[in-house]
């Protein structure tokens, strides 16, 4: 069973976007804030893929994470934790500089909104799973 870490604060509104993934057997763990993700890095490290939103609240911490806290998190994955697993950035990326930075960190960038079935296809494709 493949494991996915989903870092997204609006799961209360958009949770069903991952339903086809869950129905086909993916195990999804949700993290709603930067702090929650940072506190669970070992668990995220065990996942096969990370789904990441860029605009997420910091959580119960005074630390500042910039305009796109998701980028901070991705940098932490790649640099501090040497995490190599695929990351799909599911977000609104407004400027080219941010987009380039994400690509440099080997992220797959996909804009929201996305059909649930398309997200599943994308995840399968990134993980090399054939239908």
């Amino acid at each position: 069973m493949k494991k996915i870490a989903w870092i997204e604060d609006d799961t209360d509104i958009i949770d069903l976007v991952v339903r086809p993934l869950e129905r086909s057997g993916y195990q999804i763990t949700r993290f709603h804030t930067i702090k929650e993700a940072l506190d669970n890095m070992e668990s995220i490290r065990q996942c096969d893929l990370v789904l990441l939103d860029l605009i997420i609240p910091p959580g119960d911490t005074d630390e500042k994470f910039g305009d796109y806290p998701g980028i901070y998190l991705l940098r932490t994955f790649r640099q501090a934790y040497q995490m190599k697993q695929p990351v799909i950035v599911l977000s609104v990326v407004a400027d080219l500089k941010t987009f380039d930075e994400l690509k440099e960190m080997d992220a797959v960038v996909e804009n929201k909104p996305i059909l649930p079935s398309k997200l599943k296809l994308l995840v399968d494709e990134v993980l090399g799973i054939e239908e």
């Binding site: 509104i13 949770d15 069903l16 976007v17 709603h32 605009i55 500042k64 305009d67």
Partner: protein, 431 residues
Amino acid sequence: MKEPVSIPEKDSLQLMLDIFAQAAKLPVGLYEKQDGEYVGIFSKENPSLYEAYCRYIQKLPNGKEMCDADEKKRACRAKEKGDEGLTLCHAGIYNYTAPIVLDGDVKGVLLYGELRLAEEDKQKESLERHREAVSRLGLNEEQAKKLEMLLAKTKVYSESEFEMLQATLPRVAEWFYQTFDTERKRVQNIEKITHEIQTRIQSILNAENLLLEFDELKKGALKEGIHEIINSAEALATVVNNLGKFQREYRFRKQRIQTLLVESKRIYGAEAKRKGIDVEINLSPVNGDTPRLEISREHLQLALNNLMHNAIKYSFRGRQGRERFVRIRGRQEGVFYSIAFENYGIGILDDEIEKRLVFEENYQGRLTHGEYRTGSGKGLFFVQQVIKRHQGTIDVFSKQMSQERFPEGQPHLIRFVVKLPFNQSDTSPRE
């Protein structure tokens, strides 16, 4: 290499510096502090503007480094002190140094001038500083003589002549920074609004699951799914309505306010449920009956939707098992009916309450800004307009809870209180 501000902003600032330098016939530099280091942009090299004295020093070994370090030091001092004024460089040349302050924040420091002052005491100071520089630079007799000659040729202004220029550039620079700031906020605002809209569209697109699972779904689940699409679309409509002027005509009719609140609860019910938030509505009856107010239903519905959504969205998450609620209470207060929305959430600061900043268009609460960047800054502005049009009032209260009660963080008890007259003829227009 670090760039001061963004590229389009840098181009604008460069143009501003060049225009000023040409008009005033004085060179100018602008420093900004980035990651603890000062970076500068300068009016374009033009031999007629930059003094031969300065150019000569900069060509000497270590000369440029000394000039750069000295300028940065003076920029840093001006930034810290926040004062405008004349400063003397390491080699005896005067500049005017002006920090550019916007909303209490120093955006950059301007240095311009490169001249001597005519007053005797200032001349003396220049010469002393020049001699110190000659010694520091380790010049031979010939070089020292040449430098002294160039100092004598450096243009001289009287303090009063220089004063005339002082007021110009810093004010223009402030205007530029103000413009950049406005543009930055505008772009951020579009981004926030886009995020809100796309999140709502996402929840509608998620209805694709109904099709994918159609053959397996029972009637009840299908019905629930359809309800969710409609609710999501209504939530999206609320966001979109906040953006533009809501041009629909106000049509006042006596309505049960309870019905509108229940409608808001329905729209955001699924979202609240997933967050584990209970929404309670408790309106005290008026003369034994459910309260009926003269309202424009469509407008007030959207206003209440905004208040309901904010209360749910900014609700304090807390530790597992922490009670989460949105409590709506109503009671009669003379010719008004008062409705209070209460929840534990992200606080609103005292000055934001006193100055009613949270009701201003595009304003995002300072505490919510760090926590949630996605508020559009439109909702409460719209709500206030609708309430005013109903000749009512809206106020907000925010009180921080004790650590004893909430060890996992200290949320605020937030209360928005809307007062609406029972009859539009009951009261004169209110602020």
